[in-house]
């Protein structure tokens, strides 16, 4: 991450004869590099800076999204969002989803990556099958799983448990079951992706490390603890960062699988921002929520990076 902020390499000192003075070259390069970076600056200003400033501004007003006038209301929106049951519910489920998927995917993806790193018949097929769900649209997967979880006896899961004599269950109609179902589908869809990420780091560990460890008499478990795990720490950092930020931003899967229901049980923060801000004309309140969301995501990223830096320092 830090590497992108590093200054560019100094140009090598060249000795060929007639060319512009150093100063002229610098000036020309300055103009040229402005021209080349201009498009990305425009993208930043139009798609990030202005909307971000507007979100801050709206969050301090009673703006409804379409009228021309908006009254300044101070921090009122920031207090009312904590009294809105649908928003609180969205916050709760978003946190449950984030923690649930992060823990479950990490616990499953690391062993899966270790297995996929061994040689066995059909390994490429297994790898592709686990990875494939993350290639296709999450929204479509959510819709397909909606049919799989169908409450009648004809749903896939209900007919499977029916073979064992169980009664059909309305998976998505009961709040807790619906929440668990959403998390399960997300884990199903995300584990392979993160396993491939871990796999890439595993394959970068030189085999000499393991040879040296086994010569020193380290058991398999010790090798995992003292060779694999420390060298996997950067991968764990990256994977968890992606899982946490991805979890907080989740929208597609709950929306297509349950529509946020039953009630507000599987509503997400993003759904709240969209529905309150665009459909229901509560742009001020929804903007306050989106600002809180931005600050929370930023803090988590910073905290996670600091924590992982400490972890890496401890392990190495």
């Amino acid at each position: 991450m830090g590497s992108t902020l590093a200054p560019p390499r100094p140009a090598p000192h060249l000795q060929s004869a007639p060319r512009p003075t150093r100063l002229q070259r610098l000036r020309r390069r300055g103009v040229e590099s402005y021209l080349f970076t201009l498009p990305v600056i425009v993208v930043f200003v139009v798609l990030f800076a202005i909307p971000l400033a507007q979100s801050f501004y709206y969050s301090l007003t009673d703006f409804n999204g379409y009228s021309t006038e908006a009254n300044f209301v101070g921090f009122e929106n920031y207090t009312t969002i904590w009294r809105d049951t649908s928003m609180l519910s969205a916050l709760g489920f978003t946190l449950v989803f984030t923690v649930g998927t992060t823990v479950a995917i990490t616990v499953l993806a690391i062993p899966l990556a270790l297995v996929l790193n061994r040689k066995f018949f059909g390994r490429n097929l297994v790898r592709s099958v686990f990875f494939f769900p993350s290639v296709v649209s999450v929204a479509i997967l959510g819709l397909v799983w909606g049919f799989i979880f169908a409450p009648l006896g004809t749903g896939v899961i209900n007919s499977i448990i029916g073979w064992f004599g169980a009664q059909p269950i309305a998976w998505l109609a009961e709040p807790d079951l619906a929440r668990i179902s959403v998390v399960v589908v997300a884990v199903w869809g995300g584990t392979g992706w993160h396993a491939v990420l871990y796999l890439a780091y595993l394959q970068a560990i030189p085999s000499e490390f393991y040879e040296a460890a086994s010569i020193d008499g380290a058991s398999r478990r010790q090798q995992f603890r003292y060779v694999t795990l420390p060298l996997l720490t950067p991968a764990i950092t990256v994977s968890q960062l992606l899982l946490i930020t991805g979890g907080l931003k989740v929208y597609d899967l709950p929306y297509t699988l349950t529509g946020g229901g039953p009630g507000f049980a599987t509503r997400t923060l993003t759904q709240s921002i969209i529905e309150n801000g665009i459909a229901q004309g509560e742009a001020g309140k929804a903007s306050a929520l989106s600002v809180v969301f931005f600050v929370a995501v930023g803090l988590i990223i910073v905290a996670q990076l600091a924590l992982s830096r400490r972890m890496e320092a401890r392990f190495s």
């Binding site: 992108t4 060929s16 798609l47 819709l143 004809t154 990256v238 597609d252 989106s290």
Partner: protein
């Protein structure tokens, strides 16, 4: 011992992969069935090869229209993203201290801002420009991905010896000429990787079209599947068939571009 372990792994992992693949088997097998057949046995094999669901779905929905919409948005937005991202990366390399710091900072900010935070103002901005419910509006929004492209491209560019640019400059080539005839060919591998990665994002994205597109004739494929669920709520085979039709290009894409997808995943996550 080693062979035994390998056999054991196959015995455990292949059935496990089978379980993970059930949803895909489920939708595929049910495209060949009728509604009563699905109700009778959702996972059973069809009684015969009957492709009438496919012809009916193509008749009932403007799938080609949505396919072309998605393709148009994808191709234009990814071409622009790669252009903007690679230009910025090159500009950064030839630029001087203050500018590069500034660009580094704005890109970092852009990275931290979740799309959700800018959604409401962007909706108002696009509606002010009459770009809501247009494919061009989607393209404008997807340009936000240029920042991610920039991050990956500059990481790759730093591995190219600067001497290559310098010698071209001494030969009298202009910066644009160097960009076009030296930089672009040299960074082709990363352009392909980033392009594949962003293509997956644009092709699969649901939130943007769902918020910004209303007209049926401007739908992307994913949005079409979503709105077809209401229409097909009782016609399960039709929904399954539509899903298979929409997922099929991705299977092909996955097989062709698997290598790039994985390398994009790795470089992307490291940079991000």
């Amino acid at each position: 011992m080693k062979q035994l372990r390998s056999i054991l792994l196959s015995v455990v992992m292949l059935p496990l992969a089978g379980i993970v693949a059930i949803p895909f088997y489920y939708i595929l097998v049910n495209t060949l069935k009728t509604q009563p057949e699905i109700s009778a046995s959702p996972l059973g094999l069809p009684s015969g090869l009957d492709f009438s669901n496919y012809t009916e779905v193509f008749k009932a929905l403007p799938i080609w229209q949505s396919f072309l919409n998605t393709l148009y948005v994808g191709v234009v937005s990814i071409a622009l993203m790669l252009l903007i991202g690679s230009m910025a990366a090159y500009g950064m390399l030839i630029g001087q201290g203050r500018l590069t710091k500034f660009i580094g900072v704005i890109c970092l900010i852009a990275f931290l801002v979740p799309g959700q935070t800018t959604l409401i103002p962007l909706y108002r901005m696009l509606s002010g420009m009459y770009l809501v419910d247009t494919l061009e509006g989607l393209i404008v929004l997807y340009l936000a991905g240029s920042i991610f492209c920039y991050f990956l491209i500059i990481g790759y560019m730093r591995t190219i010896p600067m001497e290559l640019f310098e010698s071209a400059r001494i030969d009298g080539a202009s910066a644009f000429r160097i960009y076009r005839s030296i930089v672009l060919p040299l960074i082709r591998p990363i352009l392909v990787t980033v392009g594949v990665f962003q293509a997956m994002w644009v092709w699969n994205d649901f939130i943007t079209p769902n918020v910004f597109i209303n007209s049926p004739d401007k739908q992307t494929l994913v949005l079409q599947v979503y709105s077809a669920v209401g229409q097909f709520s009782t016609d399960w085979p039709a929904f399954m068939t539509l899903s298979v039709i929409v997922l099929a290009p991705l299977v092909v894409f996955f097989i062709v571009a698997q290598r790039h997808i994985v390398s994009g995943l790795v470089t992307g996550s490291v940079k991000g």
